[in-house]
């Protein structure tokens, strides 16, 4: 070991070619391993890891189930006759909440925030164009407009989903609305 060190030291300082001038005994260097043997290592497989069921949002609930859920005892017990967003309150410092709600409550298949929005917190509330009972809760009965996210507390992603679902529902005729009046110019259709 000392010989090796000496020879390398000499090589560095004298800049001569040791393989020509000086015979160095070939040595194998053993590096001490501080890792566990492979058999003992637990393989980290994030895909198969099971999260706590209270935050796991990977299961996709079909729209039909959601429609049945809105008529069920469990829903009645949880929400009563009120819209699902009425009792929700955002957590923020100060009297005035931030102008925009959070981007999304669910990241990587799990609820990644505390106090998730009214739709993200209940996996059986699915925003689908056929789920009219749920969609109508977000439409004002007086003016017919869709409530803003600042009123309902939905995260941005769910709010966009809601707008798309309502637009689709109106397109398929699941939600009816008052159509703007069309005035006709009779002279274009029949010359009297």
């Amino acid at each position: 070991m000392a010989l090796l060190f000496y020879s390398r030291l000499v090589a560095n300082y004298c800049k001569f070619r040791p393989e020509k001038d000086l015979f160095i005994r070939p040595l194998t260097v053993g590096v001490p391993s501080f890792c566990k043997p492979e058999s003992e290592v637990e393989v980290k497989d994030d895909n198969n890891k099971k999260h706590d069921p209270s935050i796991d949002s990977t299961t996709v609930v079909p729209a039909e189930t959601s429609i049945r859920y809105l008529r069920s005892e469990a829903y009645k017990e949880t929400y009563g006759n009120e819209p699902v967003w009425i009792q929700y309150r955002r957590n923020h410092k100060g009297a005035f909440p931030p102008l925009k709600t959070r981007k999304t409550c669910i990241r990587g298949g799990i609820i990644s925030t505390g106090n998730p929005c009214p739709i993200c917190r209940d996996e059986y509330l699915v925003l689908h164009h056929e789920n009219v009972d749920l969609l109508n809760q977000f439409i004002s009965p007086h003016t017919g407009e869709v409530f803003s996210y600042s009123k309902t507390g939905l995260c941005q992603r769910r709010h966009l989903e809601l707008l798309v679902a309502i637009e689709k529902a109106k397109d398929y005729g699941f939600i009816t609305f008052d159509v703007p009046f069309r005035e006709y110019d009779y002279s274009l259709y029949y010359k009297l």
Binding site: T176, P180, Y190
Partner: protein
């Protein structure tokens, strides 16, 4: 080259003639004659307005357009001011009850402007030229198409609608037809009784001379007539065309029955008069109406032209009895009060 251009122009004309023939053979009863002159006749318009039965509460009900509502205004008025305001309300109601026109379905036969076969294969797509100058209506706007074979022609009605919607979009109208006008979704809406919504949206989305608009309106009117939900359309702009459609297709019997059973004799008479104008070849068309002899006039129609004779006769009989009883009761009350 001369022979080829001849052949192509002949082919184009043949195709257009075949289209006309196909349209004529596919026509249902009543579409061969043009309904527009009859619909826009002053007498017919008056009768349709009478049948619509203007109810100001229904006409001026709150409409939710997604805009913030205005708070109601309360005013103190004298009798003259009130009369003036009521007159204005009647005029406004007439505007709101403007009937969508009933016209013949258009035939897809665009006029060819020039045959430039030397231009063919210059492009893989057609070119559509639209005149977007201000001040021209959608119907009069010039829209021409250069086809792949070099022919310059005027645009078909469907192409016209598409270009008009692209450059001059109307609020609420979509470029692509909404799914709710497809058969299964339309049936679902009609079963739920949303007739006015379907008709309003159809008015906005389509032109009155489009075949699809005529299909949708016909389906809706039939659904209303079958279910006897006349009150859903009454006092709306669609009742006039609905009554016209029934008279045009000679199936006013259900409607007539409803009017007789609700003791609306003036409207019954109006409906039969409408039927006579729309179908002058009807058997009872010669019968003249004299005020006070409604039952006789209705009887004449029921005997000659109705398809549900027995039911209508029964209803008419019941109505005659009702009027008799009323007259007797009134006479009795007059005698009791000491009048002659």
């Amino acid at each position: 080259m001369f022979c080829r251009s001849c052949n192509m122009s002949f082919k184009a004309q043949c195709i257009s003639k075949i289209n006309i023939l196909r349209h004529i053979t596919n026509q249902t009863t009543g579409v061969e004659r043009d309904p527009a002159p009859v619909f826009f006749n002053a007498n017919v318009q008056q009768l349709l307005k009478k049948l619509t039965r203007v109810d100001l509460r229904t006409v001026f009900r709150t409409k939710r357009y997604g805009v913030a509502l205005k708070t109601p205004e309360y005013k103190f008025l004298t009798a003259e001011e009130l009369n003036m305001v009521m007159k204005e309300a009647q005029e406004k109601a007439e505007q709101k009850l403007q009937m969508p026109p009933v016209v013949k379905a258009h035939v897809d036969e665009p006029e060819v402007l020039s045959y430039d076969y030397e231009l063919q294969k210059h492009s893989e797509t057609k070119f559509v030229f639209t005149d977007i100058s201000f001040g021209i209506s959608d119907v009069e706007r010039t829209i021409v198409v250069r086809d792949l074979n070099g022919v310059l022609r005027k645009a078909t009605p469907d192409e016209r609608l598409r270009m008009n919607e692209t450059y001059f979009p109307k609020p609420g109208r979509k470029i692509r037809m909404p799914h709710m006008f497809e058969k299964e979704y339309l049936k679902r809406l009609l079963d739920q009784g949303k007739y006015e919504f379907v008709l309003d949206r159809a008015c906005l989305q389509f032109e009155p001379d489009q075949p699809i608009y005529q299909d949708i309106t016909a389906t809706t009117y039939e659904a209303v007539d079958t279910a006897r939900h006349y009150s859903s359309l009454r006092s709306t702009r669609h009742f006039g065309p609905f009554a016209f459609h029934l008279a045009w297709n000679r199936c006013i019997d259900n409607f007539l029955l409803d009017l007789i059973q609700t003791d609306r004799l003036d409207e019954t008479v109006a409906l039969i008069q409408l039927y006579h104008i729309v179908n002058p070849e009807a058997e009872s068309a010669s019968a003249k109406y004299k005020p006070g002899l409604e039952h006789k006039f209705i009887q004449a129609y029921v005997e000659s032209d109705s398809k549900k004779r027995s039911v209508l006769e029964l209803a008419l009989q019941a109505n005659v009895e009702l009027h008799k009883q009323r007259a007797e009761t009134e006479a009795g009350i007059r005698r009791a009060h000491g009048h002659a």
